[in-house]
């Protein structure tokens, strides 16, 4: 998909044994693995197993990975396969003697699901990366505004020690800054996933 220089650098460092780089890689892609597990409605212990297995494979895969840009796709496909495998094992346990007649999600359905999850995970990782680079005041303010339900401007003013009248403009300025982040280039239009429909 996109050649993210951050990911390329993280892969290079992780290959040399840098645990910190590995942690960052894992944190970036765990939401992708987790949401694919969610799509398959795995139980919590099964999801834990899948993530653990994918991570162990990922460590091995880093050594032979040629194009870091292909990494998210590899993670998505590997996670999806592990989910299917776990589900089959679960079914086999449940339907002990019965031959498996019901097929799990059809191949093209799985491909569509993977594309959607990938697109979403990449967009969300970009948003988190862009957010992390905002000035502290912006991060504080936006974090408050993202609460559900969000506090009133009066409460925010109290919490941040800023006049209430300044909150609206600061919010607009922070979001404008977020928008300008190079991480988000190409992500902020359409319905999300609009350009992922490339026929193969």
């Amino acid at each position: 998909m996109r050649d993210d220089p951050t990911v390329i650098a993280l892969v290079a460092r992780a290959r040399k044994g840098d645990q910190g780089a590995w942690n960052e890689l894992v944190e970036r892609y765990l939401p992708l693995m987790w949401s694919i597990c969610g799509r398959h409605r795995l139980s919590r212990p099964d999801a834990d197993d899948v993530v653990q297995t994918v991570c162990l494979r990922l460590v091995e895969h880093l050594a032979v990975l040629r194009t870091p840009a292909a990494l998210p796709g590899w993670i998505a496909v590997t996670t999806q396969r592990e989910c299917v495998r776990v589900l089959r094992a679960v079914r086999r346990r449940e339907v002990a003697e019965q031959p498996m007649s019901v097929d799990l999600a059809a191949e093209d359905e799985a491909t569509t699901m993977i594309e959607q999850e990938l697109e979403r995970a990449e967009r969300q990782a970009a948003l988190r990366a862009a957010f992390a680079q905002l000035p502290p005041l912006c991060r504080k303010l936006l974090t408050l505004l993202m609460r559900d339900p969000p506090p009133s401007y009066a409460e925010i003013g109290d919490l941040l020690g800023t006049p209430v009248g300044g909150i609206g403009p600061t919010r607009a300025r922070c979001l404008a800054r977020l928008r300008q982040s190079p991480y988000l280039h190409g992500y902020l239009s359409g319905e999300g996933g609009g350009d992922a429909r490339t026929p193969v």
Partner: protein, 157 residues
């Protein structure tokens, strides 16, 4: 004019909403899952040659021929391949049945996340059995008599 409308820009509300969803997606992952994902890194085996999963009956379909001539078909068959050797593995009801190819005597260590769970020696023709089936994930480390050390990728049953 048209050039400004070509990009269907998100509103501030939409942007904040998407950001909130993105932050939540990362926050909702349980702490233990993050920890064990981080810990996976410590399991690199720099010195071992890695035998990759080349065939898995669960992914690639039924095995062409069963390794064991037993009446019941194996629950799962896998083949791990590297330059030095191939390890064939079958999951039976109560054991893992394996074969090192080319056939030779080797020590097989079963490694789980908490350490080495068991060690078995193959027979003269490279056959081995591991009982009971280890906790997963696990992997096998194979040391041949001429000093080659091979590790399979991690296996979850």
């Amino acid at each position: 004019m048209p050039e400004h409308r070509s990009e269907n820009r998100w509103s501030d509300e939409r942007l904040l909403d998407e950001l909130a969803t993105a932050m939540r997606a990362a926050e909702e992952i349980p702490r233990e899952v993050v920890e064990s994902a981080r810990a996976a890194f410590a399991w690199r085996d720099i010195d071992d040659e890695l035998a990759r999963l080349a065939y898995d009956s669960e992914v690639d379909g039924e095995p062409a021929e069963a390794l064991t001539r037993s009446e019941s078909a194996p629950l799962r068959a896998m083949t791990f391949v590297c330059r030095s050797l191939t390890i064939e593995l079958e999951v039976a009801d109560d054991a893992l049945i394996g074969q090192v190819v080319p056939s030779q005597v080797a020590d097989i260590h079963v490694r789980v996340l908490s350490g080495v769970a068991a060690t078995v020696r193959t027979d003269e023709v490279g056959g081995f059995a591991i009982r009971p089936i280890p906790d997963h994930p696990f992997h096998l480390q194979c040391r041949t008599s001429d000093g080659v050390s091979v590790a399979t990728s991690w296996i979850t049953l």
